[in-house]
């Protein structure tokens, strides 16, 4: 690919005491691309996500982000206000547990509208209609707009979190096990929804999952992690149909019908 990358990590290392959570990891993400990071628990997937999104500083290595005007930013050298602005506008973060991201004491509409208000939108009618629009896009009934999230089911909460994150049209979204803890039919609908939304809005996604099936459905490319290292990376079909690294072969063969 000749197009410049949206996000790049080079030589990322991070140790937690004796444990090497990241060992010399390189990552590239192009605009509009969905990259899945797979591996068993404890392999460093979530740590990598946190380092890429600037939430955890690495011991060594760099993360670069290219803003819409083409300027490169060293994510870990950015002043805190700029990084926060980035997280509130260009970027989004979808947690496994939507309760970590949502405000449970604020109505669904207020949750969706918060990022707009944080960006300085000061027109109630505009915020309201954006919230209604986004609830519809994530298939939540419009008359639930003034209900509190605690009256929502698990799948609805996750969809509300997605609406809250995407309302500002971010270019890059980090997702940490977005379908974890949901039952299988709800998972399937959610995956469908995520796929159609990110494709339509041309959002780049770094997706962490332990579920190979989720990666196969969503991702363009896959990076397989084991003990803090990326052991194999490539196009999703290539990696899953013709795994080279013994660990990847083990992962793929352990999934039924994968």
């Amino acid at each position: 690919m000749t197009e410049p990358t949206l996000l790049s990590g080079r030589g990322l290392n991070l140790n937690f005491g004796e444990l090497s959570a990241l060992a010399n990891v390189d990552v590239d993400l192009w605009p509009g691309e969905i990259l899945a990071i797979v591996g068993e628990s404890g392999s460093g997937k979530t740590t990598l996500l946190n380092v890429l999104s600037g939430r955890t500083a690495p011991d060594s290595g760099m993360v670069w982000y290219r803003d819409p005007s083409g300027h490169l930013h060293d994510v870990h050298a950015m002043p805190a206000p700029s990084l926060r602005t980035l997280h509130r506008s260009d970027w989004g973060f979808v947690h496994q547990d939507p309760r970590q991201n949502l405000r449970m004491g604020v109505s669904a509409g207020g949750n969706v509208g918060e990022r707009l208000m944080a960006q300085g939108v000061r027109h109630y009618g505009a915020i309201r209609s954006a919230a209604l629009d986004w609830l519809a896009q994530v298939e939540i009934d419009e008359n639930r707009i003034d209900d509190l999230p605690r009256t929502f089911s698990g799948g609805m909460l996750q969809r509300l979190q997605i609406a809250r994150t995407l309302v500002t049209h971010p270019r890059l979204v980090f997702m940490d096990e977005p379908t974890g803890g949901l039952d299988v039919s709800v998972q399937a609908r959610l995956l469908d929804l995520i796929r159609s939304l990110v494709t339509r809005l041309n959002i780049a996604v770094v997706l962490v999952t332990h579920d190979i099936a989720v990666a196969r459905l969503l991702a363009h490319r896959i990076a397989v992690m084991q003990r803090g290292r990326i052991v194999e990376t490539g196009l999703t079909d290539q990696v899953l149909d013709d795994p080279r690294h013994p660990y990847t072969q083990l992962l793929v063969s352990s999934v039924l019908n994968a």
Binding site: R84, G113, A118, I127
Partner: protein, 281 residues
């Protein structure tokens, strides 16, 4: 005055509070730390800025004759020997709780607010570390979420007192529990405004002639709410009114909450509907 330092507090303490006040004036609306343990915030601030020539007025809920106002006035008369007054126009320092006088304050006056809770975000964000970060980054979307929720639920912003304001386009600030009716008086006020929150250990300030804007939405602009009556005693239609139940049949009297303003108007010959009755009885 014997046995006490001037204005009760020792000079070191007053100097420390004054230093905090000077910083607070330099960063309008920003909360400064204030050590704990010298009484309520308003009294600490007043004690620290009082000079021998000052004339002190103290109001509580707009009235000069309530217990708190009388006690604080008497306290400083006793410990500092300063002159006291109930007339807004004669005072150089006005300590207040819950109101701003109706009469426009001047450049040679200072108003000191007693503040119970200085953090405008405290009901919305439980972590003080996080609210400090939000102030540092001017990240105030959450306050608007509260306004949004009010409009979604009640059709209007339901905050009637302690209505949050932006100071100098930068800091979100609690105006202390004054009615929203008084908020516009803070904007470009000629007098220096000082805020002390003793229990919460915070001092903040608004210098004279500073922009103070009540938060709102473009399509739901800030507006003040007041009882739709004239004052029963002086007939004023532009002052903030208290509702007083006057007998066992539930009859009500609406009167100016600013007692000095009301008395001044009556002395000038203005009479409200119930004012005649009062005179007749």
């Amino acid at each position: 005055m014997k046995g006490y330092n001037f204005a009760y507090l020792d000079e070191q303490t007053k100097r420390m509070i004054r230093r905090g006040l000077l910083k607070a004036v330099a960063i309008p609306g920003h909360q400064m730390p204030l050590p704990y343990g010298w009484g309520t915030g308003g009294i600490q601030v007043t004690a620290s800025i009082l000079g021998a020539d000052d004339v002190l007025k103290v109001i509580d809920q707009g009235a000069d004759d309530t217990t708190n106002a009388v006690s604080i006035r008497r306290f400083f008369a006793g410990t500092a020997g300063v002159a006291t007054t109930t007339a807004t126009s004669e005072a150089t320092v006005i300590q207040t709780r819950h109101r701003i006088p109706e009469r426009q304050l001047r450049e040679d006056q200072i108003i000191v607010y007693q503040v119970p809770q200085p953090e405008p975000l405290f009901r919305l964000e439980p972590s003080r570390v996080e609210t400090k970060r939000m102030h540092g980054l001017a990240d105030y979307g959450l306050m608007h979420v509260k306004l949004y929720e009010d409009i979604a639920r009640f059709g209007q912003v339901s905050i009637s007192y302690d209505y949050p304001v932006m100071v100098n386009h930068r800091y979100l600030m609690s105006p202390s529990p004054i009615p929203a009716f008084d908020n516009p008086k803070m904007d470009m006020m000629p007098a220096l405004q000082l805020f002390g929150a003793g229990r919460e250990k915070r001092i903040y300030a608004i210098p004279p002639w500073t922009r103070v804007k009540s938060l709102d939405f473009d399509d739901h602009p800030f507006r003040t709410i007041n009882a739709p009556h004239p004052c029963g005693l002086c007939g004023a239609t532009d002052s903030y009114l208290d509702e007083v139940v006057i007998d066992n049949r539930g009859s009500r009297l609406f009167v100016c909450s600013d007692t000095d303003h009301c008395a001044e108007r009556r002395a000038a010959g203005h009479v409200g509907a119930q004012g005649f009755q009062e005179a007749a009885e």
